[in-house]
Symmetry: C3
Subunit: 499 residues, 3 copies
């Protein structure tokens, strides 16, 4: 480990030492230059934080300079900037390059061994080399995941019902306000916390006393995080530090971090689909690093990234689908999370939506759509065509059409089942055996939530991804019909106790 006293000479020695293994493995000739600043970082952190330094060394960032990356043919390029600032172009993308980027914009910037660094690298920092991806992501619902949850009154009520500590008092359950830490440990883990600088403090370290920022909402890698530089989102939600492995991002496990629960069971449906089976059984033979990604040659069945994000080509290098970081570019329908499936919202900021009754919801409780906030049928057709183009890489037009007709039928019938559950709830409210003030706190209301949030979603995901086994008994049609009966029994019980 490095000494506690940092001198220029000492760092110089460390620089030589850490480069040694690269020399030894014969990789030297190809190893492009690492900036002096980054070598200084590594000199200490390789002993203090061995995991992240070793991880970074395995990354493409550690082995390529942006200037080299720019020389690739356009389809093969992983950087979208046309030009890279001079001081960054000819060194690899190391610690100092990212953690000292845009220092003035970062409220979390602090002085660390004479370099002004920040802990959290934001999408705005990444945009230096990846501006197109950052722009697309800014239009992605995910970048707004915190806004869309935190700025919606109905969801605030929902979160209170789920996260609050609750007390039993005089035959009532009484919630108190959930604390911020519980939110960060629950919904905002995925949706993103607000990371704010609360001040700076000195701490003892192995290298003597040093000053660090005090952050609230930290740690967090939620996809819609508020960052101390004023930007929204976290690239590392999917592109995990510090290897930033495209292989990991393209495998479905990354998506499963947030899309496996019964509220968004995308991964569960995929897992039992033919596609998921082929991925699990055969992906050892596939090539996850190639850009562009060639259908058939690089992979034999889709992962999440294939259908929703990646740049795909056929063997003649003709583009089948353009890369996108706006994840609903190929999706006409929003089948998850909300009371009724509906066309995707126009704006990624869904807190602006108002339904007929003034609620921040894309449909009324009756199912009627707040159409002015949703994409129209032309846009839906365009997105459907984009997705079907990918399906047709392996399936006939007939096959693909048959699948989509069935999916859209299931969207309709699952919405119908939700409408029935809603009518039972409306009856309970009308008869005053349930209290409409909060929509989420009584047992019959919670049953209603499960009708759409669990069973409606599951049935639709199972249909969309052809993972039928998940949509029947696992968490789908069986429960959707059972739940209606149980809601009815509860309504009868509530009416009985009232009279």
């Amino acid at each position: 480990m490095c000494s506690r006293i940092l001198s220029y000479r000492f760092l110089l020695v460390c620089r030589l030492l850490w480069a040694a293994p690269l020399l030894a493995t014969g990789a030297y000739a190809e190893q492009p230059p690492v900036s002096d600043l980054t070598q200084d970082c590594i000199a200490c952190h390789e002993s203090i934080h061995p995991g992240i330094v070793a991880d970074w060394k395995r990354s493409r960032h550690a082995r390529t300079t942006p200037a080299q990356a720019l020389k690739k043919p356009e389809l093969q390029r992983r950087v979208s900037a046309k030009k890279i600032p001079g001081n960054l172009a000819d060194v690899v993308v190391g610690c100092a390059e990212c953690h000292a980027m845009n220092a003035d914009a970062h409220k979390d910037t602090f002085s660390h061994n004479d370099l002004r660094v920040h802990v959290m690298v934001s999408p705005r920092d990444c945009a230096t080399c990846h501006p197109a991806e950052t722009d697309e992501f800014a239009m992605n619902l995910m970048a707004w995941a915190r806004v869309n949850l935190a700025n919606n009154k109905i969801y605030a009520d929902f979160m209170r019902a789920v996260n609050s500590p609750q007390a039993f008092d005089n035959m009532k359950i009484r919630p108190r306000e959930p604390d911020e830490m519980t939110g960060a440990d629950s919904c905002f883990h995925c949706h993103g916390t607000a990371v704010e600088v609360k001040g700076f403090e000195k701490r003892d370290t192995d290298h003597g006393e040093m000053e660090f920022p005090v952050l609230s909402g930290w740690p967090n890698q939620g996809v819609g995080r508020f960052n101390p530089d004023g930007s929204k989102g976290s690239c590392s939600a999917c592109h995990s530090r510090h290897q930033f492995s495209i292989e990991a991002a393209r495998k479905p496990y990354t998506c499963s971090q947030c899309h496996k629960g019964p509220d968004v069971p995308a991964y569960k449906a995929y897992e039992v689909s033919k596609h998921g089976n082929l991925f699990s059984a055969l992906h050892g033979q596939w090539k996850f690093y190639n850009v562009p990604w060639t259908v058939g040659e690089d992979f034999a069945a889709p992962t999440c990234a294939v259908c929703h994000a990646s740049l795909l080509v056929n063997k003649d290098q003709e583009v089948i689908a353009k890369r996108t970081h706006r994840m609903n570019d190929r999706l006409p329908w929003r089948i998850l999370g909300l009371i009724y499936a509906h066309p995707h919202p126009r704006s990624p900021d869904t807190s602006v939506i108002k339904n007929r009754d003034g609620q921040q919801l894309p449909t009324a409780l009756s199912g009627e759509q707040a159409s002015e906030y949703l994409i129209d049928s032309d846009e839906m057709a365009k997105r459907r065509a984009a997705m079907q183009g990918i399906c047709r890489s392996c399936h006939s037009a007939d096959w693909v059409n048959g699948h989509w007709v069935r999916l859209e039928n299931t969207i309709r019938t699952s919405n119908e089942m939700t409408r029935t559950a809603t009518e039972i709830l409306l009856k309970a409210w009308k008869e005053k055996v349930a209290d409409q003030d909060s929509v989420f706190d009584e047992a019959i209301e919670k049953q209603w939530v499960e009708q759409w949030l669990f069973y409606g979603n599951s049935v639709r995901f199972a249909s969309a991804m052809m993972g039928a086994d998940y949509g029947v008994f696992a968490n789908g049609r069986w429960y959707a019909s059972k739940n209606l009966q149980e809601m009815l029994d509860r309504l009868r019980f509530l009416l009985g106790t009232k009279n």
Copy 2:
């Protein structure tokens, strides 16, 4: 992409082009001939459907001729035909070989660039080279999965309760008939649809206007599918197109497509067993392509295929288990899906069974077996011995016997718990607080269903596969006992509201 105008000369060029990569990789010397017809198919479809062509190129079908396959020693042979028709013997098994096979028998045959082809390759087509497997599969319950579900009045009632859109009307839940598309998206996804030719239509394609058959029930790869040539079943349910990878079929993910839900949680129990752990942790070292499959040398713990299907030998090439595609050849007990576990049915067509009370069920509601339709104790002993022979490849006779005694005890006790649930339901029917007309639509009836379909099955699978963790709290004994209490509470509530 190929031109829109197809000429013989053009196709010839394409043939040369697609062979080029094989030449380049030095595989040419071993590459047996591809028929002219198949080369014509590939000439266009490699650009249009790059996924499936690339997949096929990775297949054994693309690299071997049936004649070569027949020359292998018998134990190593993957074809069971003694003789292959002359026109097929000396070319690889390509597009035209399968999709133009038995053209006259196929109602879905259509003319496509002067070749009469059909979209769906059926088990009868596969039987040209694999007749023994096809014959075994025809005796397999799975080939009858559609028949057994669609031709059973009780199951029809069950499907209606699960799949129907339902309305709330005057304090009742009223189902309407489920549409065919919902069935195809639900139960028949795995059990198989009836694919029928509804006519032919012309469509614009990249290659000009072409005629195609219009199919109902399509797409589908359900294991008991009705095919347009009159055959039953789908080989691609397990042997996925177009690589037809034996590796994928032998890995448990294939089985999990239909056997992971709480109704048939075979995969879930396997996953947490010692066997499943060893598979997950170590299968990267195993050899999934070898035929026959050598215990210990090729794999160190069973997958589904090991115990239920594959041809197994020891290192001296002595046969431990013969290959079978009748999946209950090694199973005395049918532990899944039905009210009580019972000896396997004699006939794969279970719609012929009638219990004491005239229902198409292998047991009465009391548990009494419809013995004349079920295998007798001699046949059970034979099948038990077949399975135990496999267990003994790694376990002592003492170990194996101990395991089976325990499993058969669990079969007995789980049946007992189902009997108790049935008595509660009978009481509800007798007291007229539930309506016996349909057995699946009221809440207390749905609880009864879960007793056997979820908890009884889970407890038995966890026992059979030694995945105990799944059989206690995950979906097993805990719920089996809790459900009885909740049925009782509901019965008390129903009796209370009646009086």
Copy 3:
């Protein structure tokens, strides 16, 4: 297969034969000697039990002698004995070495071809070479898993409620005593059975009549098993026979055998964490065989073993964490299984604990801790520091502290929710609408159990492992709050039927 008549000459030939493949593969030079006794075992068992012999041949035991193992630098050593008995030191660790070890101590010892062998190799046998691991394991809660369950009156009541066959009789559910086989198929599968010698019997085998011990509670590999030599535990619960692969033990699938159900959902929370994602996506690049295990170089994200058991070093070979087989060495809090999360017990024998009310529980029903039986805050701080040292291999001190503050907040709030559920239950008992005699048999009591056993545990595991998706809707906060409402509704129903 070997002849039925065993002669010295015959065994000699077999010895030569089985060594042949090693010669052929050029491995001979490095292959250390196999004892004559072990060669005799293999001579027959390679044909009879091909799976286990092939598995053993892949093991380190088959390729190294203890004497060679002792020569390694200390950090690289997998044996902890300072000295190995002479007859074992210079041969590989084969069948006879383990199965004939300590023959006199084993009640299951029997004479088998003139060798006195036992079927079950116990921790005491393994301690010959691995004494430190065995000693640590003896202090591990897991070694006491059977004692702690079987010797606790409250748990006995719990097991009765879960495992008993139950009958419906005069509007009551009546359990009968669960039989021993059900226990072995349920709780004691993981916790361990009591394996006892009930006598000896002669059996016909392929090699003529032989005598074997008759064992009760067999088969079993539960981690707290009682062995016929009087020892407790089973190394093969995690170190699976006969490859004893450290790779398998270090992968999370091994732990998932017993820690995946909703009662201990460690694996489920891990799976959807960033750590679990990185493991699933990238572990093909990692090195699971290295001892010591170098953070960053050998693996890029933790598995269960990393945080809870393995010897970890940084690239300078500085120890980050010492190896331990006492699994709570790095854990201040016991977050699983019991009514309230609490500091870890001092003694691995938890049956000695008595709470304020004399129950064998670490807390009272009110949550009050039985502090004298639990580790104090100094010991908690020490264990917390041990774990945080591992976290800091990849995360800043700030990050790690933020995470722990949140986790400890979640421990508090989840305990609070359990306290609320307990108050509802106490009300039901007080009002005599539930019967306190057994705490586990009525529906409202079962709901109470789920509050802590399923939802409290899930919320805490999701927090501890940063697998938030599992802790909200999958089996966490959503159900924790819903369950309280449903308990309240049931209490109202019970009070209503009473009056």
